[in-house]
Point group: C2
Chain length 453, copies 2
């Protein structure tokens, strides 16, 4: 048993709680990224208000103590994992929705509001908050901003950054600033809101978020699901839908291994002939007909079209279970590459080849309509260190994505897990600009150091 | 006549032209912002390629010479006005569309491509480039990025930043970087693309732009135009449409003085009873019916609904003529405030009161669906200095917009004209972060100094 760290006498009094018992703080050491093992914090602050965050930052800044901001802890890249001697600043208790403006279609939410709760609150007023990460029931809006989170509906509605209008942010030294605005448009000064979005807690700690809301659709979408004899044909179907000019409301692809691990966890009647499954949704019956046509042309075994919301939820539940099922199957090294959508078939073919080369299990699901894939490298639960074969295969997958004109991470962020590859995508001059921005905002390098790039 | 500046012997040889004759370079001294008078450049570089821009920047950096990037020169805030002894770097000749990917729905265009040309090229493939500033026939995509330009269609489709995927940029010292990507999603590192978007040429010179394209709508929109007995009722109609949950494809408001100056320039049969005009477009007949209903409920004299594209173009031509008509009527001090849409009626009322207080002519048109207004202060063509009453009224209009939860500039940018007010909106801490970012990117303060914030 580790000794309980003694909180220095000058640590500020807060409205929220301060935890120091290692048996308790251990729950805040890691996020959902199995390969990254967090250290032991000096303390975990459960902030209740922006003042708590500000007072904590001021103390950390004065005492050169590292700060790790934390939302729902659902990150898949280790971006919220603790470092030895750090202060973890949890925003989870700051979960009030302060305002929903129906007239101006925006919401003001504290950083700890759960994504699904924000959307549900908007729906009470005929509005919606569209970005919906797979973890929408446990992730927070603050974490969504920090990672510029995507989600299933983003193919139609866009990602988090397209909804963030303004932020309240605590800087490294504890000063509180506001960025952005509540108006639809605005170009006064640099767009610090956008710079902060996706900055993974390295420039400031977001405490309050103002987001655009959209009118909720009057009719439920039509769901079009299809079974394919191989994943490359399913990927080709996606590229064909995009080329048709129809924008689906959602388009998700699962390969055979993904379907199998989901089936293991919650059986849904997986058939032997289904090697890949594509689930699309369309806003209109005409668009649904295009999805059906393109799925069939690309070689689907069978296509199911349904207007029944309960059936749609059941089909989507399979997709939403993919990550829990991966975690159920073993420790996961979660990748998140993106490629231009026309390259999806080739990217799937390359992942299959890499899996074969390394003799690995790499189930893959994809926000296929966005060209965003989650090849997931699985290794046994017992192993604490990532096997070398996993690192090798991960490296080849990243390189393949870049080679196809793609990116290292579509929506999960770089965190700790992918920091070694950022230079390969960004180049030295761009990395230098990153370091200059970081130094300007956080001269002591105390905010989530080593993460993000 | 001013002496022709002698270009230093070590000025780089370029593929493009270098102009030094003041009679010629005078054409590059100003943009469309009458109150700002540009200085005399040392030279104007008509760059033909990124290498030209890079070589020029390298020379300027080594010799501490200020660089003023310039697109179409259609800016309304003086952001492209020359300074004495500067080098103006015009991107106008870099006007090649390098690629249109139908499969992946993006375009790669050099910075000098005219906005309307890019859209027209996309339409040949069934796609469109949505953001359409009123100056779309003369403004460039590079300038659109520098100012994060808005436009008429932005109420439905969003502004420039929502379309920019990646940039090629020349830094102050001449280095060439690439930011962003061609994939739909991507979160590797800070979003420098978004930081550059709207930075008004103060961080780098954009030479190539990769933008998202959208499928062009299959059917032309339905246009709904209405005449109102006063502007406040017209503004209330806009707020009612927004609150109804219908997203119009376009919603433009013109007050009586705007209609009069347009009528003076190109008569269109303005009737005496029309004190304000609202032009909406809807993507579906059902949405058009909502516009019609809300316009009538708010007190319109008459409402015209038309599916005829020629009639729609004619109605929109009145709106697109507003700025040329303002310029025809006098020198203009163009404002660009934004407010939450529910505050439009109050903002119009305040503008009327301010006009009365100062005895000024302040015609106002608005991208009303976005809450973005262009109150335009007009003073006689002969006057070279902005009259004090204009500064006073401008100040009160800005203050009123901020007071209503709004912003100084919705889409035109700060430029030189509004730099004095940025602190009022941003505050000292945020301004300090601006200066730190600027210093990190442009340590010698040579890129468009004094503009943007």
């Amino acid at each position: 048993m580790t000794a309980v760290p003694v909180l220095p006498a000058d640590f500020p009094a807060l409205r929220g709680a301060v935890l120091t018992d290692p048996d308790v703080t251990a729950a805040y050491a890691d996020d959902h990224c199995s390969p990254v093992h967090g250290g032991t914090p000096l303390a975990v602050v459960l902030a209740e208000c922006t003042d708590d965050v500000s007072a904590t930052a001021r103390w950390c800044y004065a005492n050169d103590v590292v700060m790790i901001p934390r939302g729902g802890g659902s990150g898949l890249a280790g971006g919220a994992s603790a470092l030895d001697g750090c202060v973890v600043i949890s925003l989870a208790r700051m979960n009030a929705i302060r305002e929903i403006s129906v007239a101006d279609q925006y919401a003001v939410a504290e950083a700890g509001v759960i994504n699904a709760d924000l959307d549900a609150a908007a729906r009470e007023h005929g509005l919606m908050y569209p970005p919906d990460p797979s973890s929408y029931e446990i992730c927070t809006i603050g974490g969504n901003v920090a990672t510029n989170a995507g989600g299933l509906r983003c193919v139609k509605y866009g990602v988090t950054r397209e909804y963030v209008l303004g932020l309240q942010v605590v800087l490294a030294d504890g000063r509180v600033i506001k960025t952005g605005r509540r108006t639809v448009k605005g170009v006064t000064g640099y767009d610090l809101t956008q710079l902060l979005c996706g900055s993974e807690g390295t420039l400031g700690i977001v405490t309050t978020v103002t987001v655009k809301l959209k009118p909720a659709p009057a009719h439920p979408p039509t769901t079009v699901a299809a079974s394919f004899p191989d994943v490359v044909r399913a990927a080709a179907a996606v590229a064909a839908v995009v080329a048709s000019g129809v924008t689906p409301a959602l388009m998700e692809l699962m390969d055979r291994r993904t379907l199998e691990v989901v089936q293991d966890m919650r059986p849904f009647g997986l058939e032997d002939s289904t090697i890949a499954m594509l689930i699309g949704q369309a806003s209109t019956p005409a668009d649904a007909a295009v999805l059906e046509r393109e799925f069939e042309r690309a070689g689907a075994h069978y296509v199911v079209v349904s207007d029944d919301p309960a059936e749609a939820d059941e089909l989507l539940a399979v997709r939403r279970a993919a990550f829990p099922a991966y975690e159920n199957a073993g420790n996961i090294f979660s990748e998140d590459v993106g490629v231009p959508r026309s390259k999806l078939p080739e990217m799937f073919a390359r992942i299959e080849a890499i899996a074969a080369k390394y003799g690995l299990d790499i189930p893959t699901c994809a926000h296929a309509g966005d060209g965003n894939l989650h090849p997931t490298l699985i290794y046994p639960h017992g192993e604490t260190e990532v096997p070398q074969a996993i690192w090798g295969a991960a490296d080849e997958i990243f390189t393949a994505a870049l080679d196809l004109g793609g990116t290292l991470t579509g929506e999960h962020g770089v965190g700790v897990l992918k920091a070694r590859w950022t230079g390969q995508e960004l180049g030295d001059d761009v990395l230098e600009l990153h370091r200059a921005i970081k130094a300007a905002w956080d001269p002591k390098n105390l905010l989530n150091p080593g993460r993000g790039f």
